[in-house]
Symmetry: C2
Subunit: 179 residues, 2 copies
């Protein structure tokens, strides 16, 4: 049981879902491809943490719907109370910052402008999903609360990244004024 497995189990604890559903839902918070997810679901089924049934669909491929078992719920609850692993962040942009001394000011500016655009797009992506959550689901009584606060985190951290870029452009501009 690795971290991703627990994340999938957590999503299934909310509503039954297919591997495909889970891939889409976990995407904004943990990048994982279907090729990683399907085997994990299979092994959790074997361990009795999940149960599955095939659903026939007209006009769409059949899907395997997973539900959490009582054993799965117990396991999830144990995990919640355990120490949480520190977050891992890997951003190529940070490493590029180690050698901005090699680039000309115009190149540096283009680099930062490009990353700013990326973050602005991300911000819109998160806000659009968040805005789609109805007001009445945004309190702890609903599972929508969980999505709502997670998206808020993404929004706030993304805003910090944009603010940082603006701050750098100011600091950098002071020393390398140019049109």
């Amino acid at each position: 049981m690795n971290i991703l497995s627990y994340g999938l189990l957590a999503l299934v604890s909310r509503t039954e879902a297919s591997g495909y559903d889970l891939m889409l839902k976990i995407q904004p918070f943990w990048q994982a491809k279907h090729s990683q997810i399907y085997p994990l679901l299979g092994s959790m089924e074997e361990q009795g943490l999940l149960s599955a049934k095939w659903i026939q669909q007209a006009d769409k491929p059949d899907k395997k719907l997973y539900s959490i078992t009582p054993a799965g719920t117990d396991k999830l609850h144990e995990w919640l109370l355990e120490e949480t692993a520190p977050p891992v962040m890997r951003d190529e942009f940070n490493l590029k910052c180690f050698c901005i001394h090699l680039a000309e000011p115009s190149e540096v500016r283009r680099m930062f402008a490009g990353r700013r655009k990326y973050h602005v797009e991300r911000m819109k992506y998160y806000k659009d999903i968040q805005d789609a959550i109805p007001q009445e689901y945004r309190n702890p009584g609903h599972i929508g609360f969980e999505d709502y606060i997670l998206l808020q985190k993404a929004v706030m951290r993304t805003k910090a990244s944009i603010d940082w870029i603006d701050w750098v452009e100011q600091e950098y501009g002071q020393w390398t004024a140019e049109a």
Copy 2:
């Protein structure tokens, strides 16, 4: 040449360094163990991007100092102008948020308090390193500028995480008032 290799090359472009030095320097921005770093340095040496010499040290083990070659500098500069990969963030805490409905309010509060403490400690860690950079190195003329802005990013994003936790505690508290 993967992303980490470029990051190491970028660090060496600033000052010659040993694998051990590089492991420590890259740590706050890209988690990598020495077992991953040493082979990458070896392969970059083989490719002619780095050159190395052994330094004998009294009272400390000998070390292998790497310097960047002209070919290495060219390669780095090319990399700088290429598309930057999107950042990858994996935080177990986010996945735990998917099932806070399973926990009691006291458990949820403990969870958030624990993560808050973690971020506050990280904040101090980043600020201490940043504060150690002399004022006169904090402008684009010095390589210290690169460290200075990167630490500022870490500080700003960490602050966003703490602010988010405070915001969640407020939102959560409104609905589950308790002493």
